[in-house]
Amino acid sequence: MKLLEVDDLHVTVDGQKILNGLSLTIEAGEVHALMGPNGSGKSTLANVLAGRPGYQITSGTIHFKGEQLKDLKVEERAHLGLFMAFQYPVEIPGVSNMEFMKAALDAQAAAREEEPLSAIEFMKAVRKIAEELDLNPDFLKRGVNEGFSGGEKKRNEILQLLLLQPTLAVLDETDSGLDIDAIQTVSAGVNRFRNTDNGLLLITHYQRLLDYIVPDVVHVLANGRIVRSGDKGLALTLEEKGYAWLSTS
């Protein structure tokens, strides 16, 4: 089943063209890695998918689970099962992590007309995931990302991923700023998330992450378009030869 279909997408930000005819299809059960030099438009794609204001789609279409994404509000995309792990998770002082995650879960359950988790079920679920991610339970009581280290913020994103169980997760440079131990913990979490019904789009600069989360397809983005796709071997070649190799080969 096709989860995501991006067709000939053109996007401008503040009048500047960032994406120029990007096409990408992700099937259920697949992990795609999106690589590319700085400024190639990787994060723009993530933000456009999630619906962040300020990104103008000038032409092209995005379908998620068969629905035109353009017509949906940010939260409606989330209710449909689209998740984005942020490159720079923002702090919300005074709102505890627990309160925030319960509100998110409840909002999604309500939108899908499902029964919300009880407070006790919720606590159990969160504690279990926190433990798997090597997060001190204390941090659940702290403000959302408030005073978290870079690594804690990223692990907190993965905690939300595992709790919300979306259909498609877009991870925007989740590995940046993580030490090798943290990358392993985070990757283990992401691998636990993977199953045959959901999909992953990993945006990363480095091949290193792909040693732990093995992708089915690797894409290279340059100047707002996918210029090459291949299996995980492509990532290794890039690591060795750099992006310049693409323009010469």
Binding site: D14, A50, G51, R52, P53, G54, K73, V74, E75, R77, A78, H79, F83, M84, F86, P89, V90, I92, P93, G94, V95, S96, M98, E99, F100, M101, K102, A103, A104, D106, A107, Q108, A111, S118, A119, G143, V144, Q160, L164
Partner: protein, 501 residues
């Protein structure tokens, strides 16, 4: 890049905006000595009190309205206000609950204020019990709350009087206390806020009509929360209530006040005076949830809430704590203050002031350190949305006698959208080298990134703003009595309705 959700303002709902249709005895507009005499006679007051009022009135005539606040409004025509209005059925003075006009009882029922003694305080916002978040905080059995209900110019009912009397606590309308405890009223009335303290306090002293009186005897811990609920109903009427709370040595009391008014196109004046007196080792905790009608989204109508609130820590180790959640009124202009006279006495001020649409608030506190080793804490949170303006103004003064005095002040402002303003005016006057005064201030915005994160997780923007604002206020809400804290947080969400589109 601005978030489109923050730009649009729509109507906000004001739950308490209805009018009660009852017959009232209302004085014609205008103020002169005969009005002062009329009010005093109506309350059957002793000659000293009539003279006290007249003296205040004459002082008021000499005074001019202060202009220094960061608020803007057309001059008030004091001759167009009626200074006394009472439901006709109450004209013969206080009665038992059974005799209160059923129309008035229904008003309080509608507002969620229980005047039947077996009920609990629901308060200023309705339907708080079904709060889905409460299963996270856990629900506890709610303590009983005694209520004094003030409708326009008179107190119409006070509950649990008998139970309080067993403990020796006096909780009654101040007009009644003048009759039953004249010596206490005479000793303390005007002792903290002198008659000519300021323009509005002088006006209040001349024409105040009712309010609550609390007396906690030595060593008594008041067995329940005391609460006064103020309701303005009549048109073109000012409400001038007077509250006097006296805590004798070693006593403790927690007191709450709530306020609402109908939606009217004209501005109405509310000029109250509250005086607190704490003797040795006594503690008074005074909480306010103010939800006067704020005016419509274009800034038409609403209450002018110009109030003088001051406490005196007379005794050693005494403590006065003000907690206020100010969401209503077209203009809020008040500075609940503490005079720290007793050695080792403690003053606290915790405030949340939220303004939306065209509301204005200039609020803060004064901590006057006189005694040795006196301590004060000020935590003020201002939230501005729409085209509103919120100002914190605070004075910390340590006099030469206040050896070892300490103050900590923290002022945080939160802006929602880009058409509102937040201002901070801290005044520090230290005449004592041993005093330690700390001041911290921050201004932040509900950022587009915060909203986007919440929405990406499935939370709609309105709920997200409510959550972010509640988080911002958490430190202050923690200081409110449990049953008010839940309510205050709800009230904040209601008041923010329409702050995001």
């Amino acid at each position: 890049m601005s978030n489109p959700f923050v730009e649009n303002l729509v109507d906000r709902e004001y739950d308490a905006g209805f009018v009660t249709d009852i017959e009232s005895e209302t004085l014609p507009p205008g103020l002169d000595e005969s009005v002062v005499r009329f009010i005093s006679a109506k309350k059957d007051e002793p000659a000293w009190l009539t003279d006290w009022r007249l003296e205040a009135y004459r002082g008021w005539l000499e005074m001019t309205p202060p202009k220094w606040a960061h608020v803007h409004f057309s001059p008030i025509d004091f001759s167009a206000i009626s200074y006394f209005s009472a439901p006709k059925s109450q004209a013969d003075g206080p009665r038992s609950l059974d005799e209160v006009d059923p129309e008035i009882l229904r008003t309080y029922e509608k507002l969620g204020i229980p005047l039947h003694e077996q009920e609990f305080l629901a308060g200023v916002v309705k339907n708080t019990s079904s709060d889905p978040a409460s299963d996270l905080t856990g629900s506890e059995a709610r303590p009983l709350v005694a209520v004094d209900a003030v409708f326009d110019s008179v107190s119409i009912a006070t509950t649990f009087k008998d139970k309080l009397a067993e403990a020796g606590v006096v909780f009654c309308p101040i007009s009644e206390a003048v009759q039953t405890h004249p010596e206490l009223v005479r000793k303390y009335l005007g002792s903290v806020v002198p008659r000519k303290d300021n323009f509005y306090a002088a006006l209040n002293s001349a024409v105040y009509s009712d309010g609550s009186f609390v007396y906690i005897p030595q060593g008594v811990r008041c067995p329940m929360e005391l609460s006064t609920y103020f309701r303005i109903n009549a048109q073109n009427t000012g409400q001038f209530e007077r509250t006097l709370i006296i805590a004798e040595a070693g006593s403790y009391v927690s007191y709450l006040e709530g306020c609402t008014a109908p939606m009217r196109d004209e501005n109405q004046l509310h000029a109250a005076v509250v005086e607190l007196i704490a003797l040795d080792d006594a503690e008074i905790k005074y909480s306010t949830v103010q939800n006067w009608y704020p005016g419509d989204k274009n800034g038409k109508g609403g209450i002018y809430n110009f109030v003088t609130k001051r406490g005196a820590c007379i005794g050693v180790r005494s403590k006065i704590s003000w907690t206020q959640v100010e969401t209503g009124s077209a203009i809020t202009w008040k500075y609940p203050s503490v005079i720290l006279r007793g050695d080792h006495s403690v003053g606290e001020f915790y405030s949340v002031a939220l303004t939306n649409n065209y509301q204005q608030a200039d609020t803060g506190t004064k901590m006057i350190h006189i005694g040795k080793n006196t301590r004060s804490t000020i935590i003020a949170k201002g939230i501005s949305a729409g085209r509103s303006n919120s100002t914190y103004r605070g004075l910390v003064r340590t006099s030469p006698t206040a050896i070892g005095a300490r103050n900590y002040t923290q002022c945080d402002s939160l802006l929602i959208g880009s058409n509102c303003g937040a201002h901070t005016f801290p005044y520090i006057e230290s005449k004592n080298a041993s005093a330690i005064i700390e001041h911290e201030a921050t201004t932040s915005k509900v950022s587009d990134d915060q909203l986007f994160l919440c929405q990406q997780r499935g939370i709609d923007p309105e709920k997200a703003v409510g959550m972010i604002v509640n988080g911002f206020c958490k430190e202050v809400f923690r200081k409110l009595p449990m049953e008010f804290a839940v309510e205050a947080s709800k009230l904040l969400e209601v008041s923010l309705e329409g702050a995001v589109g």
